[in-house]
């Protein structure tokens, strides 16, 4: 997940579905590909949860 030369996913207001792989302290989680995500807006998460992530913050939790 990155802002490539041709398409910046953050600037385009896109959000990406990501699965939590580990939970960290301080309302943080690690998702696939090692991306660190703030989870303040969606409450406590667990490994396996699917989140909608934009600019490093989970903006919604997606039902399994």
């Amino acid at each position: 997940m990155s802002c490539s030369d041709s398409h910046c996913i953050t600037c385009s207001d896109e959000a990406t579905l990501m699965i939590v792989t580990a939970v960290l302290a301080g309302a943080l989680a690690v998702c696939e590909a090692g991306v660190e995500v703030m989870t303040d807006l969606v409450g406590p998460v667990n490994p396996g949860d699917t989140l909608l992530v934009h600019a490093g913050v989970a903006i919604a939790r997606v039902a399994p």
Partner: protein, 371 residues
Amino acid sequence: MRFVDEYRDGALGAALAAEIVATVESGRHYKVMEVCGGHTHTIYKYGIDDLLPENVELVHGPGCPVCVIPMGRVDDAIALSGRPEVILTCFGDMMRVPGGSGTLDDAKAQGADVRMVYSPLDALRIARENQEREVVFFAVGFETTAPSTALTLMRAKAERLINFSVYCNHVTIVPPLRALLDSPDLQLDGFIGPGHVSTIIGVRPFAFIPDEYGKPIVISGFEPLDVLQSVQMLLHQLAEGRAEVENQYRRVVPDDGNERALQVLEEVFELRPHFEWRGLGSISQSALKLAAPYADFDAELRFELPGVPVADPKACQCGEVLKGVIKPWQCKVFGTSCTPERPIGTCMVSSEGACAAYYNYGRLARERAAI
């Protein structure tokens, strides 16, 4: 992948397109505006407009956060990056947006320490790792992106990380929509509403569109079937004489938005009295600045910035494109002196900008059709 593959099903798309054809009245022209850059990107990438009847026209509003940043603000970011103590961090597309004195990419090539980040949290990490430097995050984006900046600032404050600051250019979606609806040269039948902004603010802030202007709006997801279904829902409203806010993206968007996100926005930001939008001019209460409790992290207060307004290049018609008055290819410099490699206007920078999206995905098809 679940939530992706089923929204890209070609057979379902063809069925929806057939329903749309059956819904429209022949002889009536429908003009529908999408106001999110992600939708613009989907429309061009998947050829949604080619599936619609000729009398259903999609126009592309000011939903690309990069495209609406005026050149003077870009110049201020470039000036910041020129300070030897500063590491300037920003999202990818902002690196290529031309100001009056080049781009941040140019500044980086000339030695400025400009770093692309995916998240403001990355900028905070850079600040932790470089405490002898000043790390500035060039924040852009609508309500979808602003919570990420807010949460990062809350962390910086809790850590007392004094070498971190934000050059805030966050904007809000409702005021420009109202400005568009008040514009005499724009005749629209309805809107495809921004799905991820609505995840944060909910659907209720859009009620003024049907209530005060009598136009329907459908909040839409970003997969091709989402956008097609939203067009269909909009046309159904028009056929039935209804004007309502409908939510096609219910799998993600709650009617009331994200309460916690709204709280952090309220805590960290306040509305600016005015903000200059590229192509739309000054719009009251349409952008955010850091609230007083976060003033210590405000780059505009920490550093002296030139703050010089810069007029758009005369040849550039981004403003008319952003208002949907002209199509990208009707701009005098589209595809000739303005290309994604050498953009003159911001709409040609980001792939979700209407001009770049059309250039990347639609130009060749149009040229073939002309032949």
